[in-house]
């Protein structure tokens, strides 16, 4: 069976990592180039972001979540510091 093309591109995964680092990491507004985040943190932060925006909380990156991440927004973090 043909391998199903991944719905999320590597660029979008990078975008998601940067987004979660900037707006959902545990301290303040982070500069995304100085931090990589581990898989479990990625999933936890992704769930926090999906919950904040009222998306289905799966901890898995999907198109709907990526669309929200691409929307123009404020640079202040979404988690209270």
């Amino acid at each position: 069976a043909p391998t199903i093309a991944p719905t999320i591109s590597p660029e979008e995964e990078d975008l998601a990592e940067g987004y979660l680092t900037q707006f959902y990491s545990d301290v303040g507004m982070k500069n995304s180039s100085t931090r990589t985040i581990k898989e479990n943190t990625f999933s936890q932060d992704l769930q926090a972001m999906q919950a904040f925006f009222g998306l289905e909380v799966t901890g898995v990156l999907n198109n709907e979540t990526v669309e929200v991440m691409k929307a123009p927004r404020c640079g202040v973090s979404d988690i209270s510091r």
Binding site: Q22, F23, M29, N31, F52, F53, G54, V68, K70, A71, P72, R73, C74, G75, V76, D78, S80, R81
Partner: protein, 391 residues
């Protein structure tokens, strides 16, 4: 709504702000007016006042710049992050930065400056992001019509939870109307609203205006703390309560616009308010006493006022007299007051409202209105007030 950890807030009433770098997308005065309007969304509902300063260090330092701009959070080019702000506090506290790689506008094109500035100032006052999609403090940007824009409920409650709510400034109460017949039911309030809603009078031949003025091409007719707005762009006539637009103004006795100053002045009893005609925001430093114009302290209210573009004079009508004020020299002309009937024959001995419209002056006295052509110094037509209200 949410607050930052520790609920940081400003511990004083007057907050200064300074714009150190502007955007080339808008004129400086447009940016100044829009930033002032954004702050006014908050000063309308909380007991804080905001003052723009042009030098030194202000509480809230504001700049427009793309990429690296002096803090550790570089912007990311067009799209993505539009702006950010710090929570209240010393030094960088409250500072607000706008990404100048965005296209800043006053419309729905590009990124609307009022909406983003109002969001960021929410942070600068202590609001965190809200999960309410309708809230201004929701993290993502979404354009909404900014005509008459006011803080959404969620944000208002959030900022009042920090600072309390602004109580309306007690103004000199309007002289009580002569007592009417005793209400049938003594428990019933004879007049639930100090001044009745004039909606039913809109098409009455007896309609008397309290005041009238142009504002950037539209005509505003004031009555009982409301105004009808006759717009050059919208169809129809809208009736709006004055204090929903300008919460600190309860009623208007007189009004006039000075287009080349982009300003409108609204008179309420013995004080008057300067309003930016474009942004419709109250100019800082107002209200002022009407005596500051040079009117004697014996004058307790102005009946009507009108700016005459051809002479650059503003005429103030009080009872059966009038004064002439020179807008260029910002002072009253000598030799006034003079009698209205002496200089404006046939308009009546008292003027309730006056405005200028495409070269003619309109003087209302009771329900009648005289269309006056100043160059000929004579009345051209006699109208009725209600005729302007699309009846």
């Amino acid at each position: 709504y949410g607050h930052f950890a520790g609920k940081p807030k400003w511990q004083k009433r007057l907050i200064t702000y300074r714009i150190t770098q502007y955007t080339p997308d808008l004129t400086q005065s447009q940016v100044d007016a829009t930033i002032a309007q954004a702050f006014q969304l908050y000063s309308d509902v909380i007991p804080l006042d905001f003052k723009q300063v042009s030098s030194g260090t202000a509480d809230i330092m504001i700049l427009f710049k793309g990429g690296y701009h002096g803090d550790f959070y570089p912007f990311d080019g067009a799209g993505g992050v539009l702006a950010h702000a710090n929570s209240p506090g010393q030094n960088q506290g409250g500072d607000t930065h706008f990404d100048d790689d965005e296209t800043w506008t006053l419309t729905q094109r590009g990124v609307n400056l009022l909406l983003v500035a109002a969001h960021e100032f929410g942070h600068a006052l202590g609001l965190d992001h809200s999960r309410d999609r309708r809230a201004l403090m929701f993290p993502t940007y979404k354009y909404v019509n900014t005509n008459g824009y006011r803080l959404p409920d969620d944000d208002r409650r959030g900022v009042q939870a920090l600072y309390g709510s602004r109580t309306p400034v007690p103004t000199t109460p309007k002289p009580k109307p002569p007592p009417g017949p005793e209400p049938e039911d003594p428990t019933e309030d004879p007049n639930p609203d100090p001044l009745p809603n004039p909606r039913d009078e809109q098409c009455s031949r007896e309609l008397v205006f309290d005041a009238a003025t142009s504002i950037r091409g539209d005509l505003f007719f004031f009555k009982n703390g409301y105004y009808w707005r006759k717009s050059t762009t919208f169809q129809g006539i809208r009736l709006i309560k004055v204090n929903t637009k300008w919460p600190r103004i309860q009623y208007v006795d007189a009004a006039f616009e000075v287009p080349n100053k982009d300003a409108v002045y609204l008179f309420e009893g013995s004080q008057y308010w300067g309003i930016r005609a474009y942004a419709k925001t109250i100019i800082s430093g107002y209200p002022k006493s009407i005596t500051s114009l040079g009117l004697p302290s014996s004058v307790s209210k102005v009946d009507a006022a009108v700016y005459v573009p051809s002479t650059k004079k503003t005429l103030f009508f009080v009872n059966n007299q009038y004064w002439s004020y020179d807008e260029g020299r910002n002072q009253m002309d000598l030799g006034y007051p003079r009698s209205i009937t002496q200089d404006f024959p046939a308009i009546g001995s008292k003027v309730d409202a006056a405005f200028e419209n495409i070269g003619y002056l309109y003087f209302s006295s009771g329900p009648r209105q005289s269309e006056y052509y100043l160059p000929y110094k004579r009345v051209v037509r006699v109208l009725l007030n209600y005729g302007w209200l699309n009846c």
